[in-house]
Structures are given as C-alpha cells and as structure tokens.
C-alpha cells in the first residue's frame, strides 16, 4: 500500500487505481457492493421501465382498484386501480433523473464557486463563502420548499430547488481542497511560469480535488432523491398523475389506516433502497479513494 502516492500529488491520475482494480477494491467492501447493486438495479429498472412494466402506470382502471399484492398485480393497485409495480418502475426514472440533474446543478455551480473563492482569497472569498453560508443556514428541506414554491410546483422546479440546496456542500468541499492544493509546489510552479489561473484551476487543482467531490456527488444523489420525494410528498413536486415515489406515498397515506398498506410501502421501500444504495456506495468510494483509510486495514 505504501506505493500509493497521496491524493495531493500532481501525479495522482497516474497512480489512481485503474478502473478494474478500483472496482475490485470497491467490491471487496461488502456494503459498497450492496449499495452498487441497489443502484444498478434501480438504474436498469429506470431504463427499461417502459418495456418491463406490466401495465400503463397512468391509466385508471376503477374495476381493479385497491387490490392487494399478488395475482395479476404483483404489488397491488392504488385507489385508481393503477398497477403499483408499474408506477414504482416509472418512479425510478423520475427519481434517478431528478438526482442526476440536481447533483449536476450543485456540482456545476458549487465547485467553481468554491474553487474561485479559495484560489483568489480576499474579498471574492468573503463574498462567495458568506453567500454559501447563507444558503447553508436554512434547513435544506425548508429552503428547497421555498424555492420550489416560488418558481411554481413541477418536476423541473423540484430539480432546480434540490440542486440549489446542494450548492454549498460542493462549494465548501472544493474550497477546502483548493485552500490546501493552491499552496502545493506544482501549483506554485505553474503560476511562476505564467500559466493562466483558469488553467491552473481546471487542469491542476480540480483533478486533484475530484475524489472527495465524487464521494459527495454520490452521497448527494441519495440526498437529492430524498428531498425531491419530500417535495412531491408535500405537493411541491411532480404534477398528478406522474408516478413519483414521494407523490405515491402522499396519495396513499390516507389508506394506511383502512388497511391498504401496499400503497405506501412499496414506494417507501423504493426510496429507502435507492438512498441506501447511494449512501453505501458513497461511503465505499470514500474508503477506496482515501489511501489513508485503505492502508489502515
């Protein structure tokens, strides 16, 4: 393990685990493997949903309403007679899309902000970091509700809301990384031969800060899926009749006490497994990418 150079060396790309070795290291961590398994399953489900869903998730069939799991409907039907399995599968598409787009928004905005703040210091740093602190000071769900409500309910606004809420996490992480990286000899060297700031940030600092950012992005996926579902649960997310896990729970919750548990259980389990998947994988990635943790075994 000692041959592994530390993440802060400029040659990190070279000595970073090769994909195959990386995957092997990752899969050796059993929990990370489980997490990856959940994610792969849900991703496949999302992609092939239109072909494998047994019913149309949007067409009501009152003759078949509130049927328990089993029989023609493996996971039962909701109060409109819509097949829950089909809706859960279609819901995966929405959740994974929302997660990807929201995390991309957080990443694309947060990372440059954090990098610029740390690289230039001074007033730029104060302004950017205090702005991020303001964002961070609100409970994330409250902030995302406020954003979603102000731009109007809908899937798109939920994505934006969740994305904006995630910005400070990425910003602060990139900030911390850049603060230490900007003092490295290779950055100093680049600067001394007149390499442009933009190039230094993109070519020398960003690649070396990528490992923790990727971990954060993975964890952020789980968070984004959860927050987006919460928004839909609260009526600020998707429009009916869209099959979305949080919205399905909201629609089904009145039926819990009358005994129709399957309306909320399956979308609930879907949310739980998807988030668990991303969280486990994120933790696993951190272990693999951080050589100190790895060598401690």
């Amino acid at each position: 393990m000692t041959v592994m150079s530390t993440a802060s060396s400029p040659g990190q790309q070279k000595s970073a685990p090769k994909p195959a070795r990386f995957l092997r290291l990752l899969l050796r961590n059993r929990l990370a493997a489980i997490g990856l398994g959940f994610i792969v399953l849900w991703t496949i489900a999302a992609i092939v949903a239109p072909w494998i869903a047994p019913y149309n998730p949007y067409v009501p069939d009152m003759a078949a309403k509130l049927q328990p799991p089993g029989g023609a409907h493996m996971l039962g039907t909701d109060n409109f007679g819509r097949d829950i399995l089909s809706r859960v599968l279609y819901g995966a598409r929405i959740s994974i899309w929302t997660g990807l787009i929201a995390v991309s928004i957080s990443f694309v905005i947060g990372v440059p902000l954090g990098g610029i703040a740390a690289y230039y210091r001074g007033r730029t740093e104060t302004i950017i970091m205090r702005l991020l602190d303001v964002l961070l000071s609100f409970p994330s769900l409250v902030l995302s509700m406020a954003i979603a409500a102000s731009i109007g309910a809908g899937l798109f606004s939920a994505m934006i809301a969740v994305g904006v809420v995630g910005i400070p996490e990425f910003g602060r992480l990139m900030y911390g990384q850049t603060i230490s990286l900007r003092e490295k000899e290779y950055v100093e060297a680049s600067r001394s031969i007149g390499v442009k700031d933009r190039v230094i940030l993109l070519r020398h600092i960003l690649p070396n800060a990528l490992a923790p950012l990727l971990v954060q992005a993975t964890l952020g996926m789980g968070f984004a899926i959860l927050t987006a579902s919460s928004l839909s649960f609260l009526g600020l997310g998707v429009k009916p009749p869209t099959a979305e896990w949080g919205a399905m729970i909201a629609e089904g919750r009145e039926y819990i006490i009358s005994g129709e548990w399957w309306l909320v259980t399956f979308p609930g389990l879907s949310i739980a497994t998807a988030i668990l998947g991303f969280n486990l994988l994120g933790d696993g990635l951190r272990d693999v990418m951080d050589p100190r943790l790895r060598s401690g075994k």
Binding site: L31, P60, F80, S229, G235, P240, P241, R253
Partner: protein, 536 residues
C-alpha cells in the same frame, strides 16, 4: 477483533443511515407534531366529567373577530361566543335535525316588524340580556356592531348585499334598519355569524384588533384558550340568557391529517370529528360507540371553465367537457357514495332549485361530436389549476384527465398551494379550476349573485349572459316568492345549458360523533353549534 469492530461500526452506520432516511422521509410525523392534538390525544381520556366535549378539527382558525371570520374554525368560535339578532329555525329531515334557513326565529331581538314598502325593519331587543362582561345588550350595541361590519374587510360584502342604508337606535331596546331597496334575503343575511352583536361598552378604548384575539359577546361559551397550532378551549357561560349550556367545557383539537382525526374518533379519544374522508365512513359506522352523520349539504363541487379563454368561450366545447366527466366514478369511487350528482349551478336542497336543462351524462361519443362541431375534432390541450388540501379534488382531476384523453383533449394538472390558488383565482384568468362553494344563505339569489351574475364577486370564470343578469336583477327586487322562483328557475336552465361549469357533485356533510352525544343540528354553514349538544 479489528474486523469485528469494523463490522459493528458499519452496522451502526447502516442503522444511522436508515434512521436518517426514516426521519427525513417521514414528513407526516413532523406535520403531526405541528398539531399536538394528534399526539396528546392519548392523554385526553374520554372526558372524566361527562359534560366536557373534545372535538377534532382540521384547521386552527385565523381570528375571533365576527366581522372578519371566514373559515370554519373561526366561524365556530364566533357562533360559540356571540349571539345574533335573529337565528334560523330547525326542522327534521329523514330523522335528522337540520337548520331551516327559510324560517327566521328570534334571538337577541324578541320581535320585529317590517314596513309596508319592505324598506324599514324595526327590531325590539329582548330585555335583561347581558354580555359576558355583564354589560346589557342595547340598541347601541347593534348600531356599533353593524358599523363594524360595514367597515370590515370580510363582512362588508354581506353588508352591501343586505342593502342596508341606515341603522338607528330608536330607544335603548329598539333598532330601526332602513334599506336602500327591498331585499327578500335581508333577514337571512342578518342572521349570519358576521352580524354577531358585539359589546360596545367593553370595546370602548380598545383598538380595532382587540377582537381578533378576544371576544366580547353574549354567547353561551367564552374562549378561554386559543392556540391555532394545537387546541382551543371554550368554557360555558353559566349566566347565558337562554340557560347555562349543558356542556361545561369544549376542547377543539386541531388535527390536520384526516386519518389522525379518524383514528382519534375511532379510539374514543375525541367525542366528535369533522371533515372525515368519505372512504372512512363505512368503517366508522361499524363502530357501535359512534354515530356518523352524513347529511346532504349544499356544498357543491364544480369544474369551472373560463368563458373568456379559448376554447372555452365556445359553448359546444364546454358542453363537450360536461359529457366527458365520469359522474358515476366520481361519486362512487372517489366519494364512496357520500355525495350526490349535481344537476344545477344551485344545490338541490336550495329552495327554488331546478334541474331543467340538465342533459349531461358520461358520453364520450357525444363529447367527440360536440368537439368536432366546434372545430376541435383533433382535440386541444389546457391547464387545470388545482388548489391543494382536498384529496378528492385531485382524485377527480386524475379521473377526468383520463376521460378527456380519450376524446383527444390533454388536461395538464397544475397543483398549487391553497392560499396561492385563492389569489390566482381572484385574477379571473385561470383557464380551468376545481372549486367548492357553500352558500350560507340557502337562496338561489344569494348563490347565483356570487357565482353566475356577470358582476358577481366570485364569478372567477367570467360567465356572462345578459339574460341571466336581467333575470337575477329582476328576481332580487321581486317580493313575490313564486314569481321569484320562476325567474331563478329560468336563469338556472340557461346556465345549465351553457355549461360554464361542469357540475361534479354535491357533498354530504360528514360528522362523526360519540353515540353518547345528542342535540346535534346540521346547519348549511357547516358550523357546529355547541349550545344544544349534551353528553350522557
């Protein structure tokens, strides 16, 4: 050993992650904690003293001011703490006691007389009636009250509708109210809770907002505690002029989640619950300790189409929409039979109702044909704005959406928060929306005046028909009840034919209560009167 520690740590992490998910993905838990009524319900043992009543309400109310109250909970406080000049009679329909809004009975006024030209009403006040403060109820109190209503934000509209010109105190116990023009609804309007008589002496030196959080009435209960987030407590006014209430204390538990209210009632933690979902009626009725009242009400639900927005400016398109509504599904599957088909813009239990002109049924061929005639054979797409808070509206919308799709019409459902919806509605530019309406004065003139008259203050979908306007104006001046009825019937027929709304259904008013309670009377304003209730 190290490995085991690692496994244990990972297990711990897993637990934390799962716990984290559970805590976050469970907004109902947090929303329930906003209304501790749900949680503290368990500590509210079935009242020890039999004369205390606990009721589960959905909303916590916004004001105690009679002139400003406009939501069910606020109205309930006002009715409990105040009296009006006159009140409604009670009749028995299908074994249930129901208010008869046609019959006006004395309350603080023991008698009244009307001048021959129907322009002057003289009220004689009951002697010896005192406010809860001990001050007597005088003619000055009435003058003061009506002046407050006139200058209020919410009640002033009714004041205008009553056509009141002047209010004069003739002597300490005589009040004369002069009208601008004869108004057959005047006595019914003056009986509304907005016209609750306020203690003018107690109000001296108090600022205008005093009544928002305090009461100054002569009613059977005093508001002892009011916390909109958790509960309110009403205590009996032992000196009430009609005799002390049979209940010594009424606690209102504010419980937002309908399923929590159902649970509280089912387990006997509350004596009464309102706004019970239709789907839970059957299971609650199976509980022998409960009595679930489901009465026809005049609360209607309709899909309003903006008559000024294409393509709904075309009567054929509006009629086509009316033919796509799956009426039976809405009533049987969404409302579980706790509703009734609506066949006029006016509720069927309103005197003067007629279903003339109603030819609609779920008939997609007919709808398709009408769309073709209107030039929309290939369909079109429009936005339905849906205010949150009522699950049945959303269910209706989803079913209607599926039927519309079958005739090529795409309906996008735009869900917005209820408060936002009410604001948007006022701008009168929503293409389509679902809304409910309850006319507190059960009269077609009152009802159509708000909703279908061209200048009606709640005619948010811009329905305007010169003949309907003329009929309404004529009827509002017509002293003869039969002649008036005919004018209103004609107006309803035109409206139904022109289909500015697709009629969805008339709600049943569902109240669940302990079988030990008696004296419950259903009022069209849906406010529960605690005074006649008793528990044995």
């Amino acid at each position: 050993m190290k490995k085991m520690t690692k496994h244990l740590t990972l297990l711990l992490v897993l637990c934390i992650v799962l716990a984290g998910c559970a805590a976050k993905s469970n907004p109902p838990a947090s929303s329930a904690s906003q209304s501790p009524g749900a949680d503290s319900g368990a500590t509210t043992q079935p009242a020890a003293a039999s004369s205390t009543l606990t009721v589960a309400f959905s909303e916590g109310g916004t004001t105690l001011d009679p002139a400003e109250a406009s939501d069910l909970t606020s109205d309930t406080f006002v009715i409990a703490a105040y009296d009006q000049l006159v009140t409604y009679g009670v009749k028995t329909v299908d074994g249930a006691d129901v208010a008869n809004t046609d019959e006006i009975k004395p309350m603080l006024a023991e008698s009244w007389s009307v001048s021959d030209d129907n322009l002057t009403y003289t009220f004689k006040l009951r002697s010896g009636v005192k406010f809860q403060s001990g001050n007597p109820v005088t003619a000055d109190s009435v003058v003061y009250t009506l002046d407050r209503v006139k200058n209020s934000k919410s009640g002033s509209f009714l004041y205008g509708m009553a056509d009141i010109k002047t209010v004069t105190a003739k002597d300490a116990s005589t009040v004369e109210i002069a009208l601008n023009k004869p108004n057959h609804m005047f006595m019914q309007i003056i009986a509304l809770y907005n016209f609750s008589i306020v203690d003018d002496v107690a109000m001296k030196g108090k600022n205008a907002d005093y009544l928002k959080t305090n009461t100054a009435g002569s009613g059977p209960f005093a508001v002892e505690k009011w916390d909109p987030a958790s509960e309110a407590v009403l205590t009996a006014n032992a000196d009430y002029w009609q005799g002390a209430p049979k209940l010594s204390k009424v606690t209102l538990k504010f419980t937002k989640e309908a399923s929590n209210r159902v649970l509280l009632l089912d387990k006997g933690d509350v004596d009464m619950a309102i706004e019970i979902p239709a789907k839970d009626v059957a299971s609650l009725q199976a509980n022998s300790a409960l009595s679930v009242k489901s009465n026809a009400s005049n609360r209607i639900l309709f899909l309003a189409l903006n008559n000024k927005v294409k393509p709904f400016d075309n009567v054929k398109v509006r009629q086509a929409i009316a033919y796509t509504i799956p009426y039976d599904q809405l009533i049987n599957d969404v409302m579980h039979g706790q509703a009734k088909q609506m066949k006029s813009a006016v509720a069927s239990n309103t005197p003067g109702y007629t279903d003339k002109g109603y030819t609609y049924e779920h008939n997609l061929d007919k709808a398709k044909q009408l769309l073709e005639e209107a030039g929309y054979g290939n369909g079109f797409s429009f936005d339905l704005t849906l205010g949150s808070g009522f699950q049945d509206w959303e269910d209706d919308a989803v079913l209607i959406q599926a039927e519309l799709a079958k005739v090529g019409v795409t309906m996008n459902i735009n869900k917005v928060a209820r408060a936002q919806f009410l604001e948007m509605q006022k701008k009168k530019n929503l293409t389509a929306y679902i809304s409910k309406w309850t006319s507190f004065v059960n009269d077609p003139g009152y009802h159509l005046g708000f909703l279908m008259y061209g200048k009606g203050s709640s005619n948010y979908n811009n329905y305007s028909n010169a003949e309907v306007d003329k009929l309404w104006e004529q009827a509002s001046q017509e002293p003869n009840a039969d002649a008036r009825k005919q004018l209103y019937e004609k107006a309803q027929e035109i409206i139904t034919t022109e289909a500015p709304w697709s009629y969805l259904y008339e709600y049943n008013r569902i109240v669940g209560m302990s079988a030990k309670l008696s004296g419950y009377v259903y009022y069209p304003d849906e406010i529960i009167r605690f005074y006649p209730l008793s528990k044995n």
